[in-house]
Symmetry: C3
């Protein structure tokens, strides 16, 4: 159902610590915690003995003690205690997964352990920890399939209708975009010359006349969309607004998604009031997407999207993205 | 699952106007609105592009603009705008349905357009707009299959037990009825001589002694039951109470029904207090039916009614009605 | 799905009387009431006419009148009235079940009537009405399969981890137990010498030093576990604490259980404050089990317990118990 040989964002870095966090990622129920040394650990949330959830247990040093019969596993999954029993068979082990603590997020790898490589984390996320930049992140839970959010982000013409009060302007629907496959990624580029600035752009950078707006969207299969954005007073090239919109669309179940977003910016880095305004503005924007996508999912439960017969020019990238993910699933 | 070549009441006439109303009728999700000229429009609640619900969009004149990517359809379903695209293929169309604004209700036709004919609206509904008569209507949502409500209304012996405090008297269970198939309809007739008046009849017409009670029930497949009622002091023929109970039992899903009822009366037409009493009384009565039928549905989810082996004489009409609907489904 | 030729506790004895009580037992929806003479009656909660629930009807003497069309059944299920109809066919009958009012509980038998025998009620329940003993009973609803509760009670090593604040001590996990099949029952015995007293034992019997703790668990298929418990100051044999924990784990559905418990005790019989403390302590303890088992059930919905490959020595009794129940199901 979901590609397994890939990273998924499972949490914001600061979410996990010395208490057990329980979460469902790509239909696997996992637990996350940190060792006493601070290293992240990811384990299946199931004691192999009687299938009780380890999330009801407790940490004993770096190990997890099941809350039912006290069976204890170290952070590699190895069983180190069965109360009342001295022999411990090797197969009596908890399932663990590779995990990376990278650029402000916790990434987990649910597929083949040998293939897990931190270098496969999509590169633009580094902007969240870039010196001189101001990081920002947030989370939205969406009751819809993650690919609906990929579709959404690869066709930003919707900003003109769904996000009129934040990041949408008419230009984003009217300006044609170019779609290019670059290796394992898809790039969608749109340059909007001499257009009205969206409301959130005005609030962020104080534009008082038309702008040039740059929007470069890159899709990293299966569920990452990074958008490089800048805007300048029309014709000046003075990039007063410059940020990335980083979207990690982690599947939770076949009908729900963990939407972890980042918005690192390269201007007014120390303006905390702006940071708060952007948090509010982005949460509002993605809340507008959530409202549409959750209704769309309810319709798709009955009428699959595959049955549609009509396409717009802007559908090129989302369609290609779905083909890439289908190819990944065939490889799994 | 449901007959399609027939009218269904989708709303009370005054419910729809210049905002989009969303409703599920016979498992189709539709939207209803009026054009600027006041004509009703019925459309599938799905943009053919990405299956977003049109109910999240907005009216632009007589057209609907999808709230996701701004694609716009006129009230005939024809696509009149795709932002960023000048060519519009003919197949890029929204689905519309025939709709009638008739006798106080909005009727929709989900089947073959060519067969939709306003003359097929069941005739007794005209009493709701009959000069000199007082109309009344209401709505109850019932979590049960619409045919359970048809069964209910074609065997009114249940009034004696379920509706003791409103329209039930012992006579309705004890008096035999005659069942006659008349063309495409079924008529059930019961005349109760010299019986105790039900409580709501006393409140409505002030009976202070026994009455003669006339009850003629007509079933129009698949989901309409019209009941002609009069009552007179026993032996006098003085019809002090005369009304129709009009029941449109619109299927919503396989387990739920929109119960639109009407109660036009031909006496005390200007007595607004009586109108209010009747509204309360009928809502109470149909609420009693709802309570039984919702529990009955839960049992039928596990034990189908087809498996029953016992029948009463009063089951003749409901059984025949189900055969008529089965025949309609075979034709569809 | 569930054994039928066995007793199930359906209610506490004082729960049923002259109003109709509705309950689901082993996926059958039943009603319970008492005749005017006080005898318990158990009937399927379904009128054979139109499958309305009899629980919406009313008692007329010892009979039940359906609330829909007034059809009436005596307490043997025989139809004694069809309004408007004088002939009553014999097959027009409600379904009844054998029922026993025994040792403080109402027991129902959903299988072959001829096999129902009150002597098959598990014998230890008599302690609830033993002269000189103090009875106590309670109820917990658990959203989990009843066999998970059988597993739970046949491997009490979990007390050391799940019930640290009431009946758990380290000894119960560390002391080996012996498992013996005795005819149709399974006995698990554990004697914990010179161990720390659990907190609830201290509150109940005032132990101020180590104790000897006796625990004899007997499983009666399919869903009864009786635990004989005593404790004495270590080495004295002075059984200051002596009680039975009686567990009737009645299946409700495939995912839920009526947990009827009893705790008759043979000491401080008149100490009402202790009775209240024990009620609170046992409800807390079984609430802790409920929390684990409901989560365990959610995992088992996806990963069946049959797939597990690891066992502890304490799994012997639960494994054998499941085999016994499987054999019962094969006989049914």
């Amino acid at each position: 159902m979901f590609p397994k040989n890939c990273w998924y964002v499972a949490a914001a870095s600061q979410e996990i610590g010395r208490t057990i966090l329980k979460r469902t990622i790509a239909q696997e129920q996992i637990i996350l915690y940190r060792t006493e040394a601070g290293d992240p650990v990811c384990m299946l949330d199931m004691c192999p003995h009687r299938h009780a959830p380890l999330s009801l247990g407790r940490l004993v040093g770096d190990a997890v003690e099941c809350g039912y019969h006290g069976i204890t596993y170290d952070c590699s999954g190895k069983c180190i205690r069965i109360p009342g029993e001295s022999r411990i068979l090797e197969r009596f082990a908890a399932t663990t997964y590779p995990v990376a603590d990278c650029w402000g997020f916790i990434w987990v790898w649910l597929g083949e352990r040998a293939k897990a490589d931190e270098k496969l984390v999509p590169e633009p996320w580094h902007w969240q920890t870039e010196p001189g930049w101001c990081p920002l992140d947030g989370y939205v839970h969406v009751n819809g399939h993650y690919q609906l959010l990929v579709d959404n982000l690869l066709d930003l013409s919707h900003e003109a209708f769904a996000h009129k009060n934040t990041i949408g302007n008419d230009a984003v629907a009217e300006t044609p975009c170019t779609t290019t496959v670059k290796g394992d990624t898809i790039e969608v580029f749109r340059f909007m010359k001499n257009c009205q600035p969206p409301k959130l752009f005005v609030r962020a950078a104080g534009f008082d006349s038309n702008i040039d707006r740059h929007q470069k969207i890159t899709f990293y299969p299966p569920c990452f969309v990074a958008i490089e954005v800048w805007a300048a007073p029309a014709g000046t090239g003075d990039k007063r607004l410059i940020w990335w919109v980083l979207n990690a669309l982690t599947p939770e179940t076949a009908r729900s998604t963990h939407y972890f977003w980042g918005l690192p910016r390269g201007f007014k880095q120390d303006d905390r009031e702006l940071t708060d305004q952007l948090r509010v503005g982005i949460n509002r924007t993605f809340g507008e997407d959530k409202a549409i996508i959750e209704q769309q999912q309810l319709i798709l439960d009955r009428v699959p999207l595959e049955k549609r017969s009509v396409f717009t020019p802007a559908d090129q990238a989302p369609t290609r993205a779905r083909q890439m993910v289908a190819a990944m699933l065939n490889q799994n």
